[in-house]
Symmetry: D3
Subunit: 313 residues, 6 copies
């Protein structure tokens, strides 16, 4: 397909894109037309349907994949597509990962790395619990496709997996370096710390907060998901269940960040540190990636409360 | 029974008290003895077992109910019991409410008032849910006996019930006065808002934080209790379940107070206001009750961040 | 009269509206004209005087009531009035409540409910004080017409009355439910808690902060108003005057919200809770009213620090 | 008189001291006696009346001036007086400034410096207002004797005068250096900024918060005092009254410090800066004076949130 | 020269201005042109080069001084210059102080006042240190030309000098009024408190944060500048050096304002008070100057967290 | 030597201990004696010199190492030494690490691990800089012996080395896992991040804050130490020096924690995360070590703002 960032004035396109936005409008002389924004993973583009009632324009909605036939023009210095025909594409005609930002790492390889951790958990109850999720195919499929955020860091396909692996890796390092930590509990908590995001944020293409997300948030959802499964594992020690859930609810580290309890266990503290570390360094990575070749000061960044720039060496 | 606040020097006692504290000690000349604190709802009293190995001294532990035989003496201006014999009392020989602070209101009457609200819920799912708890005898027994706190406000037998009724009453007033509020959702949320305290704080006599309380807190516990029961009610609307749980998790009103979400629904906001109102006015009531006849300034109060005093009229 | 929300392209109007805005401008070819915004309680409308020096255009200012003769046209999709003639209207020709948002409740009925409270105050000094204000006709007239805010909650005609009654009603409920509270002091304080707004915010049509409001604020103004009147009531106990004034100055509850003292009396605390409750629930009511049929998430709300939505049941 | 800091074991005293504390007690063998603390400006001393019912012991209360006859002994390394006789002293027999900390500066000279400022105010209304207070003898007497605090800075006789003069001097400097400031308004506001302390804190010997102080605070009291007087000055411009009162209420600078408004005028800002400057430097002066010859680190100081020490040069 | 604020439609200009902004653009019909903003100390003006490739248009960059030949026209109500020719001006052809805001006070006189303080320092080490800077010609030149800020207060030529003098004057007043302060240390610290700004902010015309400024800030830079010089002064007491540096690093008063230590010495506290006082009063002075004749409320000011207005008298 | 924790009543000692405390006192009957506290790494012990003027008692001061001859007795249930003779020990007679808490890890091995990092720095300037310190014998000796704190975490001999290595190890992990980070800069910054503690805290035995520490703090001291050395390295790039210093000053992460700048470079952010991680996990390790076998809740911990307990598995 012709990616949006490669288009030039004068190109003719007939490819499938995601319809990100659509709104009916009227020209100054009263003629109706449609404003569209079409999207693929390389960017977005304004488009116009000047004859929305034409028979060549199929019915379609925002977030549908649509085959677009049209000409690329330039208006006030920006590219624009004049659309002649639109056809709603069927599932299978397109690959969603062409239309959304996606992890720069190999998703299957990352999942295999996750599975190595899962398979090394020695505590029989934690082992059963983690396998019951990560060996489940439908869970694997959803976990691989999910983002870890609407925007901010890891807001792309595979983002939840990449962030989870980053946190698990850090926790594994901590468990090696600091004997105070129980490896099995810490790795298990890290694997599940953001599992609630599967229900907090809807799948692509919308990738937006759900009612569950708005009303409960991924911390509470995660505890519910784990609690339900734990009840199915015979003999799961009550105290261990409490400690695992505590790590989940305390992983934001501060009440002000939405954790209803501060860390009260060493593993809860360590998980919070790992989550914070991976999130912050990924955020700065995305910030610098977005800056491209710009070696200069990037302006005040609200998240870091500082003007940021790339290092000179 | 002879209540502690009525004892005088020279009295002989042979009554059942709660053993609040026990510690072995040694006199200056090396003789072992035991320091005790015994308690009933009117106060506490120091006691000594000068001959702990005597056959008259049964085995017993802290928080046991013990029948105490001894003489009331005076030491350095304070009363003290010299214990001759101790017998561990059996269940049924004593009434726990004689040994702990207890609500000044009639517990059965309060529960009946709660049931009027339960029976007036019109939404079939919320009605089933509330009845499944409040019509259950073992739940009723526990709910009536529980406190709402280790210390602070409502830290007495019947305290959870009294506070819950206070909040439900306020919510009922709000629902009458402000049409924006849905009565059924608000009353149900108020009935359950502190239900997690049944597991956060252990029953009397210990009335202390449990592992569940320390690691999860009553907000998360409450959501788990409701979630488990809701799954058993066929057809319970998913969105209604979310909204009810949201009211529970948001009822502290601020992230800094342990709510993982701020109120996002009118009923969640109203519940937070009612909880805060009943808690604050009860706290000042207990403060002024404790002050007795003192009409003067009571000194800086950390909770209210102010020096407080009773009003002159 | 023809309300603004009912106008259509092609209508001819000859009605009285409020002039909300007026500014002289020049067309591209150098001709002077006037931009106006006219207002009634249903909305606002752009208007143009293309010939401002015409003899048909009377002299008038911003916030004058003006009779407008003109034609409704459409420009860039929005309605606009081309004004032919303007006449400044005299008092009596219009009813201000047609031009501003107004309480949805019956103002006279609300005032009668206030008077029931006033007449039930038993303390002779507080009774004299409240009657000296609320039985005064000119006070009644101003109190009925005032808003309780420039914007935010209760920012409409009758808003001060409606909010005061809401707070008094809550305080009456508290006085019944919590014996620690002195009813007379609490009701009196509630009646006067925002009386300073009569001078903090100017009357409609401007409904804006005055110099008094900017420099002192309604809390200090309220204390001055009460202090002046109390000096005229022989034998008014000094301590009671202090306690009443304290309730007024502490009713915002926190120094950060402009109260120079935190509540130090039970009634001051209760008044703060009532004020906060009525204000918050009214704010959410106005938010949801403004959302109309929108059952969806309304976006992040700065005041509630949350995304809000209406409840599903 | 024999000052307390000069007493030694074996001295016999027969001098007038202030009774700071008195409490009845009982010896181990049941004999009643009285514990006293007596005070003069150099310190405090424990004292015992071993025979409180003796005819030599007059009736007296805490904060009375008492003539004490007794012997200085040593108990557990500290001095103590065994009192034989006590006589309540009459007014005129003692000079209160012998019994309380007192300004190290000449009080009369400071008042004369204040009067120079008063006499230089050019605005006729502000001039009338300041003279109506500072030329009044009874006001002068109270103003000279008052402290500016119960403890913290300037908590001594003449403290209110010394602090007021310090602030006025700074404001005078500001008015010279920064033309944006109106001298008359600023000097007047500085003269009156803490006038409310005359009623917030009771006179020596008690020097403690009054009901007025607890319930209203010196900011509100100050505004009331000025408002009452302004009403007596014919033609006092309303706007000038507002501006003066604003300076008073905003002089703490932050809502969190009890100002119901932040400074909105240049003079209000300047007054806040002057008040803060004089208070902070005086506090550090008192801290270093109390440290005597100690050139070392004095330990963490809560007010300055720092470990403090004297400078080496 | 013809200052920008004096230009009218129809004027022809041929004067030197600073080029503040330049960007290439294209007309609707594809013709390239340049957008410029030119600046002098009286304001800024839009300008267009319609024929950027003309031989009359010299090469030049942003922040160059350029001689502009063109005609003043009016576009959409605003003035604009159509530029015919541009010539880059050489150093000496223009006076930078014509192009930037400049202190309203006499810079040479202010420096002389600084020198009086320098010459009165009695401590031999502090005297050597201050003279080594302020008697140095190249330092003097830079110090006189520098601003004290990019924007906010004293953001003009001579601003660093004016602010430093303001702070030194205040410190001199403090040293007279409060004996706890050591004059030599305080005056020296005041003279150098913002010396780091010479490297934190680049010189005019850019007057912007440097890498040093972004990465270290003027507090750290100032300590480095002093430390380097102190090492060259034989026998400079180590403790005195520490105390001077402490005053520099603590002069913002709060960790939250970028001081790594809170004031621990009386002089550090006094310097913080002086810095804060001069900065705040200057800020309000600039605010009111910018308001011109406007005697009305100026709207909410974020720095002062208040709506501000000029005083009525 | 006989360690303090192994002593029993009746033992006779003649060993070298550290004198932690000494104070002259007087018995009830007026005889002078000395109170001492003696210390080794296993604990502290009260001691008395009943005859301080005896010829057997050498001159010595607090923090001297003293050979103590005496008998262990028991007083009120606690051990105590009655000292007969004291001799001040000479350097070489004792090993300081017997008298203070010391890292549980091998100090020489840790230093070798540090040196591996030092030797792997590729950037020539950073390599020269790190080697100039870590290859210096006197620096090595001091660095190995220093603590990283007066109390809190790593407050023992070797603590600065252990903490530095912990942080460097984490940074090394980050540099492997996150390509956005420059390894050389990050490792160098980690090696030096707390180098200022060498002057902020005095060496054992006192291990207390110095004047440098109180007035400047280890962040500023560290920057000075690095700056001085960098000036000696020819050609050290100015920008690299800034970036390294920035990492040092920003490593506390927040202004409120004493960093005068928030992290503006990825490496500064990473260093802050590593420092925080090692400090927090070490703190919890020390907390749990101090708790010994206690598996129960340890009570509210101010640093973690939570009640803490060891994990059950």
């Amino acid at each position: 397909m012709k990616y949006i960032e490669t288009l030039h004035e004068g190109d003719r396109i007939s490819d499938i894109y995601l319809c990100k936005f659509r709104q009916a409008a009227t020209t100054k002389n009263g003629k109706p037309y449609d404003n569209l924004i079409i999207q693929d993973k390389t960017g977005v583009l304004d488009a116009k349907i000047w004859d929305p009632n034409s028979s060549g324009i199929d019915e379609f909605d925002i977030l549908d994949y649509i085959e677009v036939f049209g000409d690329v023009t330039s208006f006030q210095g920006a590219l624009q597509v004049n659309i002649k025909r639109i056809r709603k594409a069927g599932e299978g005609e397109y690959n969603p990962s062409d239309y959304f930002p996606v992890s720069s790492k190999n998703i299957d390889v990352m999942y295999q790395e996750i599975m190595v951790y899962v398979n090394n958990i020695k505590n029989t109850y934690l082992s059963q619990l983690t396998k019951s999720f990560f060996e489940d195919n439908s869970f694997e499929k959803k976990f691989k496709a999910h983002s870890a955020a609407k925007s901010v860091h890891h807001g792309f396909i595979g983002g939840l997996l990449e962030h989870t692996l980053g946190v698990v890796n850090l926790c594994n390092y901590y468990a090696n370096a600091y004997p105070v930590l129980n490896r099995d509990l810490l790795i298990t908590a890290a694997l599940f710390h953001d599992v609630g995001k599967l229900k907090e944020i809807s799948e692509f293409p919308s990738n937006d907060y759900t009612d569950d997300g708005q009303l409960l948030g991924h911390i509470i959802i995660g505890v519910e998901i784990l609690g339900e499964r734990i009840r199915c594992i015979e003999g799961f020690p009550a105290c261990l269940a409490l400690e695992l859930k505590h790590c989940i609810i305390a992983h934001h580290g501060e009440l002000a960040y939405g954790s209803p309890k501060k860390p009260a266990l060493a593993e809860a503290l360590a998980l919070n540190l790992a989550d914070n570390t991976d999130a912050k360094i990924q955020t700065i990575t995305e910030l610098f990636n977005a800056a491209g070749d710009n070696q200069d000061w990037l302006g005040y960044n609200r998240l870091f409360e500082s003007n940021m720039r790339k290092t000179s060496i």
